[in-house]
Symmetry: C2
Subunit: 346 residues, 2 copies
DNA sequence: ATGAAAGCGCTAACAG
DNA sequence: CTGTTAGCGCTTTCAT
């Protein structure tokens, strides 16, 4: 059907040996081939539509040029796509391809190991392991010894390199944008999950307040599950107070969506009466709420790209991942300014 | 590091030849091996943690067990993830893995061909080609002759097998649910894109009305770009009429989101004063609007799974894709009932 | 400056 | 019932 043309066909067509073909096509440095021969080879290859059989190449060189990508619940979050995209584009630019495997987030440790084993049988040169949200993770044992990097998660055993978002700086810039707009009574809607983001964002909230010389009022932080109904409930409590805050930092965009409804029901206009800022930059929500939500973007694409770059550098011996395992690499979360922030009323 | 254990290590450990190992591990039918030997081989393989080198295997058998997956803009839509998931899970269950490539939707025909070529060099056994929304497509020339199936798009040259959603039946069930609730003045918000979905959904709207003996009123269909602001604008016009419809079928969930705002601004309650039904089942929106939006789901997972199944069947010679190219296979779009539909007021 | 040949890890005739 | 051996398509050492 397709590639019936092999290196020997090219050799025959160019009237040279396969060695020569291999040499010129791979630009082997030490082998010296006549300029005219070079051209003949390139021509023949071109004409026949030759492309090397990457499996044969891999078998011989012990380098598959494939990167395994394990993603938890590929589908559930639109974010996962950005990580894959970052990794794929980066890898491809360097001649690598991505082999993708979905891993159920509910899967057992055994099933995770067999995901890795699958990829290893495929002779991938390295593995990217992405989680659907930032958290700490016990990596499959058989990942040890394989070039690997974790994306959006940290290894509990500190044995594999990882890249995560800078939750604290991101959250601080979110709160700062509220402070800069002139707010001094600022509330926060936080969530109930025991994940790094919860702690980091809350801590950043307090720090930003403190740095601005504002007092932290525990009554102005309301906790609920991190979904739209939770945001609605938390915001309702916050905005119904006589001394309601004039601005609210929401744990994420989904909670902000709920907060919008709470504000609407109380007859509060956004941003004239109350300002909001979210986190995550879930485009579908942030762009489409009215008014559009100012929020903080998670660097999914960048994490994917960074991870792929490091992994490939390690595979090619340009880097030692070992030097990076000590603590996760942290990537910036930029503020995305839209229309939900204004100076406080009055 | 990883798989330094090969078939000959197993052979040595089990005290048999590599042939025997290959035979028992692959359950070769014709080769007859003693039960006790079988066990020894399995034991040894187990003990050494042997897994076959899939590249060597592929090189030898001319079957890579890899499926190439080309996806336009993997990241942009959450939907793409569901297609990948359907394909990946199905493929994996049958011993195949997915090699993924992102193809810019803006890419040239040449770049598409090189995407395919890349995969072909990798010796994939077949290719799945997914678009980010249902449309007609000129497939790369070099896809001809390769087992392939298109997901969510149709081949303009009718030469490759494809699977698409049943827009018409989906839209009809959306409209029907409005009719069943007792509505007789039903409006539609449609869009400006010249894509199959636009035409199918509008046609279905008219057919459903006709079948129910309701008259079609051109004033009750408003056209705008298929995003939230468009939905807002179209719905505003529709609901501001003295003879406003009591129910509205929205081209998609994003437009429905805009329509919700239009209703709110006019002081209309959903669903008491006006019912809405959307299309696409974009969970982030449909589940989180208030009230939650009744809509029609696109069978992304199912299309991915169906495509992978057919492709693998074809690869394994169980099916001839040729028999399916004549027209696309159409998969059902189920109605997802939530809270945005009620009987008309009064 | 170019070619012959070995061998990557595996499967599948073919021999015994 | 089990073992020998020839490649799959390529890279690379070593000869020429």
């Amino acid at each position: 059907m397709n590639k019936s043309v092999g290196i020997k066909d090219v050799a025959a067509a160019a009237g040279v040996s396969v060695t020569t073909v291999s040499h010129v096509l791979n630009d082997v440095s030490y082998a010296r081939v006549g300029a005219e021969t070079r051209e003949r080879v390139h021509d023949a290859a071109q004409r026949l539509g030759y492309g090397p059989n990457r499996m044969a190449q891999a078998l011989r060189t012990q380098r598959s040029g494939m990167i395994g990508f394990i993603s938890e619940e590929i589908a559930t979050t639109p974010h996962a796509g950005r990580i894959i995209l970052g990794a794929e584009e980066t890898a491809r630019a360097r001649g690598y391809n991505i082999m993708i495997i979905n891993s159920a987030i509910t899967g057992s440790q055994d099933s995770r190991e067999s995901d890795v084993a699958d990829l290893l049988d495929r002779q991938v040169d390295g593995i990217l392991y992405a989680t659907m949200y930032h958290r700490r993770l016990a990596v499959p044992k058989n990942l040890a010894g394989v070039p690997a990097v974790l994306v959006d998660s940290e290894d509990t055993s500190q044995t594999v390199c990882s890249v995560i978002p800078d939750e604290v700086r991101g959250a601080r810039s979110a709160v700062q944008t509220l402070i800069d707009a002139g707010h001094s009574r600022i509330g926060m809607i936080t969530n109930t999950d025991d994940v790094p983001a919860t702690h980091s964002r809350l801590r950043a909230f307090k720090e930003a307040l403190a740095d601005a010389g504002l007092v932290f009022d525990g009554n102005l932080v309301q906790t609920e599950p991190s979904e739209v109904p939770g945001g609605y409930a938390a915001a309702s409590r916050l905005l119904d107070r006589p001394d309601r805050p004039t601005a609210v930092f929401c744990y994420n965009d989904r909670m902000a969506m709920g907060a919008y409804r709470a504000a609407a029901e109380l007859g509060l206009r956004i941003p004239q009466d109350v300002s909001f800022v979210g986190f995550d930059n879930q485009q579908l929500i942030a762009e489409n709420l009215y008014p559009a939500l100012t929020t903080v973007a998670l660097p999914h694409y960048e994490m994917g790209a960074w991870a792929a770059t490091q992994l490939i550098d390690a595979i090619e011996g340009k880097t030692d991942l070992g030097s990076l395992v000590a603590r996760p690499t942290i990537l910036d979360c930029p503020l995305v300014v839209r229309d939900s922030v204004a100076p406080p009323p009055g």
